[in-house]
């Protein structure tokens, strides 16, 4: 009987080898796949219970993990809740948003660059700690933006302000109102979190939206900068002093409609300088410029500034600003003054002025300056990256002249700063006749490294002309610039 017993021994050996192989598969090879399963509550809870790194602005902590007494060990605390809500986002049991999401690997300590630290933690059986993230935000600029939006505008306004450092693409300020309190969404009381989340989701004012990157509106007259840039780049015009068409009204091609200027005037004649047209925000001039350039050149110029593209990696949900292809002639003409199908986010308009400030080069915007290991050892800073060369340096120079004139003696006067040269442009975009228009203001300081865009989505009880005059956005832009150059 020994032969079949030996056969059975081999059979049993195969059974045990299969068990060993399958155990290796499950516990080693498949381990990562199982950990990535969103249903895996072990991983979710372990990550939620981990000491997560902080998010830092200047020397201040705007998000950190503090020990808590309950089963999840650490409570995420946002020390300046509303002001930075759209940047930090929320880290809670159900997931993460904004920076908490994009920087999750690093903050939680899972990132490869933290491998050594987490490996040593594992060896010494300490629970792993996450690294911290230092933002590019200038706290004074953010304060100025936040205070400006909240104090200079009527309560209940929806608005946003963005400031960039033109030479690098650093985001110096990014604020959006209405905002929310991330602490309420980060609570360990999960029912309460769900309730708050539902309330915020249902709110018609959309407080969860970061308007600086998620809201896309017609940029109105601020888009005249792009039209002027396209005109100068086309070679048809060389300087701000070249003459462009003016007059009372523009005949919209293929239609019987005519479009006049916002004040009903003629902008000072049939032929005016481009600079003068910019100063007065003359619709007729830019309608005819766009009409002459045609949809292709207009779109190429808009795309050179970043339209129709994604460029922000540090925050999720950046929408593409739009300059659609195949516009018909009336749409093309209207696009010259930032109407019809053209739509931009505040960040996009900030990038347009930042490019003008930076000799025509658009820098890729970023929010994370550098990362710090759990032992607060700094990892290499983010390298600024060219995004595109939107215009030539000479075009940038001419555009700057026009914008300086606009602030010195034009619609941009509210942004004037004593002793500092400011270049700016106002914008008003019609939405529906019964609604308040959107108001825009973009500006930069040619001698300093800052560019700003302010967008007011819906300012109740303010006349159209006042908005056009930059009275709402101008002072906010001004205070942000002041805060940066101080």
């Amino acid at each position: 009987m020994n032969k079949p017993i030996r056969t059975m021994s081999i059979f049993c050996m195969l059974l045990f080898l299969a068990l060993l192989a399958n155990s290796t598969y499950v516990m080693y090879l498949q381990s990562g796949e199982l950990a990535d399963d969103p249903n895996n509550r072990r991983i979710v809870e372990a990550r939620f219970s981990r000491e997560r790194g902080a998010i830092l602005v200047g020397k201040n902590t705007i998000a950190e993990s503090k020990p808590s007494d309950d089963r999840y060990l650490y409570q995420r605390v946002y020390s300046t809740p509303f002001k930075y809500a759209h940047l930090t986002g929320v880290f809670n049991f159900f997931g993460q948003t904004a920076l908490e999401k994009t920087q999750n690997d690093f903050l939680s300590g899972d990132d490869d660059s933290l491998f050594l630290t987490s490996f040593l933690d594992m060896i010494s059986s300490k629970s792993p700690k996450g690294g911290s993230v230092q933002l590019t935000i200038d706290p004074r600029a953010q304060d100025a933006a936040w205070d400006g939006l909240n104090e200079d505008l009527p309560a209940g306004t929806r608005a946003s302000a963005v400031a960039l450092e033109p030479s690098t693409g650093k985001i110096l300020a990014m604020a959006s109102i209405p905002s929310y309190d991330p602490n309420k969404l980060a609570s360990h009381d999960l029912d309460e979190v769900n309730k708050q989340d539902r309330r915020l989701q249902k709110d018609d004012n959309k407080p969860l939206d970061n308007r600086a990157i998620e809201t896309r509106l017609p940029p109105g007259s601020t888009f005249k900068l792009v039209t002027a840039a396209a005109a100068l780049e086309s070679g048809d015009y060389d300087s701000a002093e070249d003459l462009v068409p003016g007059g009372f009204e523009f005949d919209l091609p293929q239609t019987d409609d005519t479009i006049g200027n916002h004040d009903g005037g003629d902008c000072g004649g049939e032929r005016i300088t481009m600079s003068s047209a910019m100063q007065q925000s003359c619709n007729v001039s830019f309608l005819s410029l766009a009409n002459d350039l045609g949809p292709e050149k207009m779109r190429e110029q808009a795309e050179a500034f970043g339209f129709n593209q994604e460029y922000l990696d540090d925050l999720p949900g950046q929408v593409e600003s739009a300059y659609p292809a195949n516009l018909d002639p009336p749409q093309t003409a209207m696009s010259g003054i930032g109407q019809s199908e053209v739509a931009a986010t505040p960040l996009q308009m900030a990038m347009v002025v930042a490019a003008i400030a930076n000799d025509g080069v658009v820098m890729k915007p970023y929010l994370v300056d550098n990362e710090l290991t759990p032992d607060l050892e700094a990892l290499p800073k983010t390298e600024p990256e060219d995004f595109s060369e939107a215009v030539s340096p000479s075009t940038a120079e001419e555009l700057t002249k026009m914008m300086v004139a606009t602030v010195d003696d034009g619609t941009g006067e509210p942004a004037q700063i004593d002793g500092v040269e400011v270049a700016g442009k106002t914008g008003t975009a019609q939405s529906a006749a019964e609604r308040n228009p959107y108001a825009w203001f973009v500006a930069f300081a040619p001698d300093h490294d800052v560019a700003v865009a302010v967008m007011i989505q819906d300012a109740a009880g303010v006349g159209r002309d006042e908005i056009a005059g930059g009275r709402l956005g101008g002072p906010i832009a001004k205070s942000i610039i002041e805060a940066v150059i101080e």
Partner: protein
Amino acid sequence: MSQNGSLMGFVHRRRRGAELFLLILSLFVGIGGYAAVGFGVQEKVPPDIIGYGGWLAALILGTHIIVRITAPYADPVLLPVVSALNGLGLAVIHRLDLARDKDFAAQQLMWMTIGVLLFAGTLLVLRDHRVLQRFTYTSGFVAIVLLLLPMLPVLGQDINGARIWIRIGPLGFQPGEVAKVLLVLAFAGYLVLHRDALALAGRRLLFLDLPRGRDLGPILAMWLVSLGVLVFQKDLGSSLLFFGLFLVLLYVATERPGWLVVGGSLFLAGAFLGYTLFGHVRQRFSIWLDPMSHYGEGTDDRGRQIVESMFGMGWGGLIGRGFGNGEPWRISYAESDFIFAVIGEELGLTGAMAVIVCYGLIVERGLRTALVCRDGFGKLVATGLACVFALQVFVVIGGVTKLIPLTGLTTPFLSYGGSSLVANWVIIALLLRISDQARRPVPDFSGDPELPDNAAEVTQVVKLEKS
């Protein structure tokens, strides 16, 4: 010495000292594991470590003394491996107790005590395993009765859809575990008598030597019994186990691979029948194929156990979370069927492999015993016990790690559950008894002066078999 004498002249050493050394090592696993659980979960050594450790050590040393007295030539590796597994099982059950505020570990220790007592009793009473051959039909009859017991209206209990429990007062019992041992004895006794008829008479069909129709009777009967267990008790695991056991013994007894073909076809037919006829079999299969679609809200959630088990083991990774750092309470029945998953989660692949290798050692020792055993009955019993053990381990660990569809069986020596633990201790006693007989020096009737005197006192009727 004669030719035969030099062949038989090889005398196995007793190796009881080695066994004692290994047993002490195994106590480090049991008591050390218990202490590690206390450290990991409550950050202190359990207050009852002295009492618990003392009790465990006393039981283990008790088994050693019993073996030393009653089976001095028995295999020295079996007992330490069993002791390590049982100790580890107790520690893991204790760990689950701490997480869920239960007291299963203390009960399990009581069951282990009963198991060890039965172990001792078996070795003391049963001085020669061949005695059991007399009880072939009795064993078979009792096994069938035991299997039928849970079907009785008052005694039987339906737990988790399977009717495999009986309850008398506060005591719950799974008669299937005991029936398993009795069936091994019954099969071995039957086959050792009828092996020639089964082996030699037959006709050749194509390239297969098929047995005669009338000899097919027993295997068909066994197949029907297995299907009966499957149908009436919804116990997939036991049904598979019994059928596999019978098939293995039939093959070993007759040395004819044709039986494996016949049995394998019958198994496939049974599996197919079960799949088409029974919803619960189809469901098990579908959960096995895609457990994720049976997990979470919006599904029937019947895959939760296996999915949580997989999540836990995946989380455990190479070296595990460590005692107290996993979340094994997420797996339902973690202390019984799914205890292997808990080991995977908290002790990692390392611990899981160690456990599998321990089981492998038990099976290997059992089969080795069968090889050196001198009588056919002993060979068959040892093979049967070893293979039923291997099959059970494969079915349960394979099920927990999703190698094969899940069937409810206990993990020998690790799982919480009295019937299983006690039955497995008896299995080890039987294996040790057979191995003692097999390794004991053959009494030399030529009066070799070198043999110790007491060897002559052991009266052995050695029936030398051809095999």
